[in-house]
Symmetry: C2
Subunit: 227 residues, 2 copies
């Protein structure tokens, strides 16, 4: 609307991405070739590469777009929930609804999770912007929640919840049960435990235990050295 010159390209870009995701869902990530994608979008291979530098750039675009959509949905959803467990649950639920039909695509994203060099890794420097926004959702969930978080734990909690989400997503990608029912079960059982532990951690006697837990956490969450 604002910039018709850009709009044209963005439309093409969207058409390619849409078709590519459809193919990924139908045939899987590996089995879908860039030539397939070009054909589905009704254009040449070269043009496709003009819009997306690589096959993986398509996955990145999906990841990006997902984050944008979620960004818009979260604030309203948050107004409807007060208690911490529900708030965290909403974030997770929206995420899973969105990723739902695209398990194969997510598989491609996580395929490189173990390789921090790889730009497509959800932990890489390249995906940092997206990751930070995702972590921010949990920050908001905690901030507006009804559970008072101990000061020493506060700075770590959003990242911890994000890691928890990543663990669930990994489990979900694996989960071959019908409709990924096991993941739902895991969520239902683990989230209350997490929140309970959080509430218990405030008890006066829990100081040393919490210190040990935080010590462990900060080893795990310690920022990586700059690349």
């Amino acid at each position: 609307m604002t910039q018709p010159t850009r709009s044209k390209a963005e439309e093409t870009r969207a058409r390619i991405l849409e078709g590519a995701l459809k193919l990924f869902r139908e045939k899987g990530f590996d089995a879908t070739t860039m030539r397939d994608i070009a054909q589905a979008a009704g254009m040449s291979l070269g043009s496709t590469y003009y819009h997306f530098d690589s096959k993986e750039a398509l996955v990145m675009a999906f990841y990006q777009e997902s984050q944008d959509t979620l960004q818009d949905l979260i604030p309203e959803a948050m107004t409807k929930h007060k208690d911490l467990a529900s708030r965290v649950r909403v974030v997770l639920q929206l995420r899973f609804e969105q990723f739902g039909p695209n398990r194969a695509v997510l598989g491609a994203l996580f395929r490189n999770a173990a390789d921090p060099q790889h730009s497509l890794s959800p932990f890489s420097a390249h995906t940092k912007a997206i990751r930070d926004r995702a972590i921010a959702h949990f920050e908001e969930a905690v901030r507006g929640g009804d559970v008072k978080v101990p000061k020493d734990l506060q700075p770590h909690l959003p990242r911890l919840l994000w890691m928890y989400q990543m663990g669930l997503i990994l489990f979900w990608i694996y989960d071959r049960s019908k409709g990924q029912a096991r993941t739902l079960k895991l969520l239902d059982k683990s989230l209350p435990v997490l929140v309970s532990a959080l509430k218990l951690s405030k008890l006066p006697l829990m100081g040393p235990v919490r210190a040990a837990a935080i010590d462990l956490l900060s080893t795990v969450l310690e920022p990586e050295p700059a690349r």
Copy 2:
């Protein structure tokens, strides 16, 4: 020695694998081509593929071989340790010593961890035999240890420890700190916590907590449906 006919092929196989691992260590997994590997082994590309169906089959062979070696080392190491923490630590330590120089190779193994279709995943049906033997090490560590494990927890504990090991390995693959010092730190901090929790779980009041934990565990460890 025993079967000269088999020995010849196995020798070639070993030569290819050895050269490949050397190249992986030097150049990384992705940067090493099958043509490089063939050349290093002094043979044609096609012949190399006769011995290894794919590049990833080389990783699988390494994984297999590693497990074989460990199998031989564990029993003796176990005789030297009584307390549970030490016994588990020894298993982990031997594993890391073995994987040590081959971080890049292990990265390739875990790269497909998220894809359950993929035979190379350490969780796949294809790697089950190896996985089961690895789990058995922890079973032995627990059995001969000085901590009495509650009956309801007993069947789950070896798998839990194996998962713990997998988590550590994943962390280690990522770990860019010098000499992977952070992983060592994480091991030092998390293992005592794990063992303490185990000891505490026996206290009479801990019944319900333990039940919840086991409920959660069995969701995670539940065997996948047959493929």
